[in-house]
Symmetry: C2
Subunit: 397 residues, 2 copies
């Protein structure tokens, strides 16, 4: 059983705050600060250019990718780090549509994170030839799997409501309809058990600054199923995805397997922070994290519903149907969140009316849940959020 007091001791948590926004930016792991300082001083500072080999910088995208792979059911050598999530979405989609010729639709749902949809739109424009993005309601994805669908692109956990898709079921349905799959694990990796190989997923992508605590702008990851890894053509064919980057050949030849999904020079300082942040998983089991997360979210929901009748649950009520966050709706959601933050309870707001609270058992326990409910009840009772200053800001967001 994971010792959550021990995991919590690994983070810097400012006094007086209840941080329910680890689903947006994870807090600082103490080891990350030390690791980055050492990378700067001992590697960049003293090794200089030799760090690429001597400090293992060049291998970091694959080495760190393997560590994330363990959390998402991906075999060694199937995950690589780099770039941002949006870039990784572009790579995955471009490769997937090419592997499924003759079909011109990228299918997604309206609960997907907008950047994934924007990137798909942009790719379709560049591809031309009738490629198009189709979005349906989250519950209607399976029914929309027509013979035109080349790729089904879904985010497993909805960023607003926390609604959790059935990855295995939807992947099987997509495959039965002849479509490939791209799964975005932004709100899954480090939050709940993911089994990419077991689900038969084709491609997956995700970011690391949320539940993996890599810090602001930490690098993204991409997974390619082994059956596609040597066939997927990189659209972003950068030199570090070349089979022999330092041969400086005039033409591109994709590297072996997942290596071809690398593009340019990896961000070593951010990777160092991430690598240190992943050490907590040496003492944490993702199944324990999931079980504890459900306890915390159940307690939060029942506490808020009892104390704050004006807030309407926006997340699925069944814990198995949601990720590690709880969302409530209120027309003055922005102002309410500002009032909460002013009192030290940090969640966030997502337009138009969502109050979002992330529960990350690595550093949040039942006491914080109770305290957060109490502060939220106070705010709702005193209507601090209804003062002109809050309302004015709410209007322009």
């Amino acid at each position: 059983m994971t010792d959550f007091a021990a995991t919590r001791a690994r983070f810097h948590l400012p006094e007086g705050l209840i941080y329910l926004d680890g689903n947006s930016l994870g807090p600082l792991p103490l080891a990350a600060a030390d690791r980055v300082a050492a990378t700067i001083r001992d590697e960049w500072g003293d090794m200089l250019i030799r760090g690429w080999n001597a400090a293992g910088w060049m291998d970091m995208p694959a080495r760190v990718g393997d560590r994330i792979g363990r959390l998402i059911g991906a075999a060694p050598g199937t995950v690589v780090m780099g770039d941002t999530l949006s870039i990784k979405v572009y790579q995955a989609l471009a490769a997937a549509v090419e592997l499924n010729p003759g079909r011109r639709v990228i299918l997604s749902d309206s609960g997907n994170f907008p950047s994934d949809l924007y990137i798909a739109e942009g790719l379709c424009r560049t591809l031309g030839q009738g490629f198009r993005l189709v979005t349906v309601a989250p519950g209607e994805v399976e029914a929309a799997l027509s013979p035109e669908v080349a790729v089904m692109m879904l985010t497993e956990v909805d960023y607003r409501t926390g609604r959790l898709h059935d990855m295995a079921g939807l992947t099987a349905a997509a495959h039965a309809a002849g479509a490939l799959t791209v799964w975005d694990l932004a709100h899954s990796a480090g939050a709940l058990p993911v089994d990419l190989a077991g689900a038969g997923a084709d491609f997956a992508v995700g970011c690391t600054y949320k539940y993996l605590n890599s810090g602001p702008g930490g690098p993204a990851f991409i997974y390619v199923a082994p059956r596609w890894a040597d066939r997927a053509r990189p659209a972003l064919s950068g030199w570090l995805g070349h089979d022999a980057p330092f041969a400086f050949e005039p033409s591109y030849r994709p590297g072996r397997g997942i290596e071809r999904m690398r593009v340019g020079t990896p961000p070593i300082l951010q990777l160092a922070a991430l690598e240190a942040a992943l050490d907590v998983w040496d003492i944490a089991d993702i199944r324990d994290v999931r079980a504890r997360s459900i306890e915390l979210t159940e307690a939060f929901i029942s506490g808020v519903e009892a104390a704050c009748p004006g807030l309407v649950l926006a997340s699925p009520r069944a814990p198995a149907a949601r990720g590690s966050q709880v969302s409530f709706r209120h027309p003055e959601g922005y102002a309410i969140m500002q009032a909460l933050i002013a009192r030290g309870v940090i969640g966030d707001f997502r337009a138009p009316d969502i109050l979002r609270f992330g529960f990350t058992p690595l550093f949040i326990g039942m006491q914080e849940v109770r305290d957060a409910v109490e502060v939220l009840a106070e705010v709702m009772a005193t209507a601090a959020w209804d003062r002109p200053a809050y309302r004015a800001r709410a209007r322009v967001t």
Copy 2:
């Protein structure tokens, strides 16, 4: 006049090394170590998610871009940071070809950095419809500007030889032929004066870990001329390039001007290192840097040619025709470089036979030039590089 003793004092330079590889990875600015530590501790650690506004993270790509703009002749609001150079090449090329419809050729030269060529190949594959990359010898670019050329994509300074293109002349020739231009400033920014606006350049891109000393994997930059900034369509249409990223609209609307060239969440730790690294330009004038660089490279060339007759100059002999590096050819170039590195002179090797030495006046002076010549002469005289261990490694590179 720039005080180069003062600029040198701002860097951590390991004892016993002569570092002639600042053109590959600049050394650690002391301020960068402090700045990153503060960003981690005081911003990520204590502000958590609030850092995006309170610490100015969200504005960093534009704020830091403006500081680089001053070094490359770009007006405020025309440069933005993010991603890697290869990604920025893709964005610039994709936007440029769309702004020049009816033409299907991307013209480059065989001295361009391979990743730029690979990225162009990949973009042409995705575009289809007969788009293609044509490369000619560096001296034949102007003659190759046919009416089919949509974009001329060149790296101003050749990564192997240091040969410097005439940016103003070639840009004018491209425009006269109806082509747009994408300039890669990887080996220019921070090395020599660049005047993008004066040259009439359309797009430019560059990296920051070379002469701008941002550390391993520091972010890239992109410049879009004001006349195109609101017309360039982003192919990599990520949410932070959206006109209203936090409105979470279902469809993409490009942001104003250069902001649309942002893609995903910016790498704040790497940007913090870069921002601190740029402080040296408060006390350094790029024209002084260029003048001193020419003194250093002239001295190195004459010293090496006098002492090492076996090495053949691969860089242009006229200082105005080269950047801030000097390259020599030798069939055993790899082994020679290994022997040099073993003796504390750090340059690098580029296949098949190039020994490359960067001269960065911010921290390299005439004494290092003399010492480097002496060590190189010793190595050539003793044939340390001709031992089996070196030769064996040379074969597999």
